[in-house]
Symmetry: C2
Subunit: 155 residues, 2 copies
DNA sequence: GATGAAAATAAAACGTT
DNA sequence: AACGTTTTATTTTCATC
């Protein structure tokens, strides 16, 4: 699936503003609306665009706490790795779970409404999970940068 | 700014599908379109909704590498912390920068088109930055979960 | 919060290069 | 194979109640 310059412009614009109207988008990339919409649909079907999401202010909506948890397992057999992934997939406060190389097996991003509820998630759902060797957590003091997606290639 | 049950439903639906039409949204929350749109605009103005973004598949679009970098600084004076934040804000491959408590001062999420370009970012932009004491990096093997936003409260 | 109307947009059909 | 024009359906948005 070849992606040309116009496709990249479309992706970049929709990444910045996911609710931009198709006529706006078409104008910005120098097309009329129908071919522009066809390109957007094609990018969606090809999986280049996975979806569109409202970006919510977690702190204002009852989740002021963000914590990163570095998890090491006792066994790194594939079966045990995916068992852990399935385990955290069911915890709604765990928003991200990335498998890493090196000493740390997983890094998790966890949100919580307060420290008490974070501690509860940690001690009842995470630390006692099967195969967990160690969990080191760090509270987020502040987030200086958070841009979803990918860098915009210079045109 | 009070958020009621309908507002939470709206947030949850727009978080899941940021391009849902307002008539769809209104129907799902049991309103007609005009009051629903007024609520959405109010949530946007209040900052509960920060924006809307297309969710792109970085790997398919030229950024198959995601790395987490744990950075420690020599000085944690506010001036030095914000100097580092400003420094990484200008590096397009650095997508996230969170200040943490504990031994690690910052965790960064970095994307790259290949390992060579990642090494270049690391050795020319990150490690030699002013005040940096240590940078430990881990490659992401796979991402098991990545849900933007906040948990949906049960209704 | 609902209704109804006007403007804008999206989507389909069709023709062109 | 991809863009443009035209047409139709839907959606957004505003005035009014």
């Amino acid at each position: 699936m070849p992606i040309d310059r116009i496709d990249r412009q479309i992706l970049s614009l929709l990444q910045a503003d996911g609710r931009m109207t198709n006529v706006d988008l078409a104008e910005r990339v120098g097309l009329t609306a129908p071919p522009c919409l066809r390109r957007v649909r094609a990018l969606e079907e090809a999986g280049a665009i996975r979806g569109y999401h409202a970006d919510l202010d977690a702190a204002r909506l009852g989740y002021p706490i963000t914590v990163f948890a570095m998890v090491s397992l006792r066994s790194q057999a594939e079966h045990d790795l995916s068992a852990f992934e399935n385990h955290v997939a069911a915890i709604p406060e765990v928003r991200e779970c990335h498998m890493l190389n090196g000493e740390i097996d997983f890094i998790l991003k966890i949100v919580a409404s307060d420290l008490k509820s974070f501690q509860e998630i940690l001690t009842t759902h995470l630390t006692p999970a099967p195969n967990v060797a160690s969990v080191k957590t760090s509270l987020t003091i502040r987030t200086a940068k958070s841009i979803s997606g990918i860098p915009v290639p210079p045109e």
